[in-house]
């Protein structure tokens, strides 16, 4: 399979935080040819081991497979559904969005709101609040109660849109782009040798508070890890240091959350292999799985590699495919370079 097709496939599949099982089974099929062992833990983290020649060090490569989504809180009169969010939405992006509801069966719905002619001029100027919105499935109330009980989740619906210059846009690129980086890394590793045991971990529930990474890291007791996530791409109006450019390679982060030796190693490898990369700094705990990994048990040295992405947490998250590809290659060369010496360097 091509990277482009894989990313499209996994972007279009649904895996809202806490409800990632279907996506996990698809992912395990896609990684099957690369790995030696696959398991799922109590929270649903998908953990796939590719054994190394020496079985040491043990490295985890984590990307979260969950996406932000909605959950039904109440069935109102007329069959309209009230909902809450799983993860952080800009509510303004929701009105008019088509969603896929996972009730007793899959049902489509539209996020509805008060008709414009009923709104006053002041109301129109205000942002919508989530409790003013509802999901409309078109079914009558009694049938809605049968089909979509309280607690059902909904995912945004969006087919991937291919744009100029290898860029594409779609839902859940945060962090399916990261999963695609892991997949590309696994592909590249087929051609390389590595001493390290590599755990590809597709984590759950990142968007509701990096919960999957808390427990998956505890179970694995790795020597080091790299989290792969997305970061903000350049858009008009943003300050230079808040964003990275699309198409100029994956982003290597430094800061207190990140072990400096891993940052240095990733940077050196990128330079040695002439792979494009960008740098970013984060002054505190990052909003990624790295946040949990670093403080697991006795501490796990962790790095962070990010794919620049515009319009995060909307259904048109836009990225450059080449960044994903280069990210996968960088990660593969990094893994291939790991040995006992590096682990010794990690002690301060």
């Amino acid at each position: 399979m091509e990277l482009r097709v894989l990313l499209q496939e996994i972007s279009q599949r649904d895996g809202v935080s806490g409800f990632e099982q279907l996506l996990a089974s698809y992912l395990s099929q896609q990684f099957e040819v690369f790995v030696d062992e696959t398991r799922t833990d109590h929270l649903g983290n998908l953990i796939m081991l590719k054994k190394g020649s020496k079985g040491f060090p043990r490295v985890i490569l984590c990307a979260h497979m969950d996406e932000i989504g909605l959950m039904v809180t109440k069935v109102e009169k007329g069959g309209f559904l009230r909902f809450t969010s799983l993860g952080g939405f800009d509510v303004r992006t929701l009105p008019g969005q088509v969603v896929t509801l996972y009730g007793t069966r899959k049902v489509k719905g539209i996020i509805g709101f008060t008709a414009p002619h009923l709104q006053t001029d002041t109301e129109k100027k205000k942002s919508a609040e989530m409790d003013q919105l509802f999901i409309d499935t078109g079914f009558p109330e009694e049938q809605v109660k049968e089909l979509i009980p309280v607690g059902s989740v909904a995912a945004l619906q969006r087919s991937v849109v291919e744009l100029m210059n290898q860029s594409c846009a779609g839902k859940a690129m945060d962090d399916r782009a990261g999963i695609a980086v892991l997949w590309q890394c696994a592909t590249e590793l087929q051609k390389l040798t590595h001493e390290a045991d590599v755990y590809f971990v597709a984590t759950v529930q990142e968007e509701v508070g990096v919960r999957g990474a808390v427990v998956s890291t505890y179970g694995l007791t790795p020597d080091l890890g790299v989290a792969v996530d997305v970061c903000h791409g350049n858009i008009p109006g943003a300050q230079e240091h808040q964003v990275s450019e699309l198409g100029k390679g994956p982003v290597i982060t430094s800061g207190p959350n990140i072990h400096p030796v891993i940052t240095r190693k990733l940077t050196t490898i990128a330079k040695d292999y002439r792979l494009p990369f960008q740098k970013d700094v984060s002054p505190g705990p990052t909003g990624t799985d790295a946040r949990a990994i670093q403080v697991s048990m006795e501490g796990v040295p962790v790095g962070l590699l990010s794919i620049p992405l515009r319009y995060m947490h909307t259904s048109v998250e836009l990225l450059d495919l080449d960044d994903v590809k280069q990210g996968g290659r960088l990660l593969a060369y990094f893994v291939s370079s790991l040995d006992k010496n590096l682990v010794e360097e990690l002690s301060c």
């Binding site: 240091h241 207190p256 700094v281 705990p285 006795e298 040295p301 990690l346």
Partner: protein, 344 residues
């Protein structure tokens, strides 16, 4: 003075290397074995025999890191945009000298001159986005010879004394005062040894102490800290939190921990027995390493004792030397008492 030497060292959260090297040097001089983990926490065993049943029961800790800044990017003009690291007080930033990176490149924090501001602008607090560090560079290229994004910066404040030596001032008394106290305890002999930990990254979310407590796996823990004192002009006494010069402050609760009642009782008992002054921290906000330590593994009986400190998280804070000395003695008595009687 040890507190002053420690306070002068740069050691912003995540960049504690120079403080760590200094403390390790002190430990080596004392002949105390120690090791460092991958985050940079230092673990040391105090003098005294390993006593069955109490070991590794007791852990004392102090965080080494301080709040500070991080270079976010270098502007075309050569000015440095920065992020705060930890809860730096934004009021105190403008017009302060700073030191940047491993080479301690000097810089100053500038802002638009008052003459160039409109009357309305002057009334507003300066936000971090409006400030920048100036290292005297001609342009971006010139600046990048010395400084890179990601470099840490701390205030360039030399510790001093006031009021005939009773008051100590400095940029990082929070929490080098705690580190100095822990080092002082490590000089002494005890009937049984305890584990001392100098932690990292407290100011960005109690991160070092979390992994340290997991590793040490103690039953009882005492955190040596500094805490806010608001005994200031135009503040009502009820809002003081703590008062400088009235002895170390015992925490009953803060935002992260309820001091274990047995720990609190024993601290009070020790202070009373040794006729040392103490006060209760009359404020329940903010976090300390005790929060994560108390919840480590199956739970730890944890408490906090602090030196009251005015103007925390600014370029110049101050504390009373005697408060610190009393803290050392109460902590010392607590260690002996726990070794002698346990803590049931």
């Amino acid at each position: 003075m040890l507190i002053q030497e420690l306070s002068n060292l740069p050691g912003v959260s995540g960049d504690e290397g120079k403080v760590r090297e200094f403390i390790r040097g002190q430990l080596t001089q004392m002949g105390i074995q120690h090791h460092v983990d991958t985050m940079g926490n230092i673990y040391a065993r105090s003098r005294g025999p390993e006593k069955e049943g109490l070991d590794p029961g007791l852990m004392l800790s102090a965080h080494m890191d301080e709040v500070g800044l991080m270079v976010a990017c270098v502007e075309k003009s050569g000015h440095l945009r920065f992020y705060p690291v930890g809860g730096v007080n934004p009021w105190s930033l403008v017009s302060k000298p700073v030191k940047i990176g491993k080479e301690e490149v000097p810089g100053v924090i500038g802002a638009k001159a008052i003459h160039l501001q409109k009357a309305e602008e002057r009334k507003k607090a300066l936000e971090i986005e409006q400030l920048y560090i100036d290292i005297g560079a001609k342009n971006k290229e010139d600046a990048e010879k010395k400084v890179q994004p990601g470099d840490y910066a701390c205030f360039d404040t030399r510790s001093d004394t006031l009021a005939d030596g009773k008051i100590i001032t400095g940029k990082a008394l929070d929490n080098r005062a705690g580190c100095a106290a822990l080092l002082e305890l490590l000089r002494r002999d005890y009937p049984a040894s305890f584990t001392a930990v100098f932690t990292v990254q407290e100011e960005v979310g109690l991160r070092g102490a979390r992994v340290a407590a997991y590793r040490v796996n103690p039953q009882v823990a005492l955190v040596l800290e500094t805490t806010t004192a608001a005994d200031l002009l135009e503040v009502k006494e009820k809002d003081f939190a703590t008062t400088v010069g009235r002895g170390p402050a015992l925490t009953i609760r803060d935002g992260s921990v309820v001091t274990h009642p047995r720990v609190l009782e024993r601290l009070i008992e020790t202070a009373e027995k040794e006729a040392r002054p103490y006060q209760f921290r009359q404020f329940t906000g903010s976090f300390t390493d005790a929060g994560v330590i108390s919840l480590s593994r199956s739970g730890v009986k944890a408490g906090v004792i602090s030196t009251p400190c005015r103007y925390l998280h600014t370029a110049a804070s101050l504390l009373h030397r005697e408060d610190w000395e009393h803290l050392v003695e109460i902590a010392d008595g607590f260690v002996r008492s726990v070794h002698e009687k346990g803590l049931e």
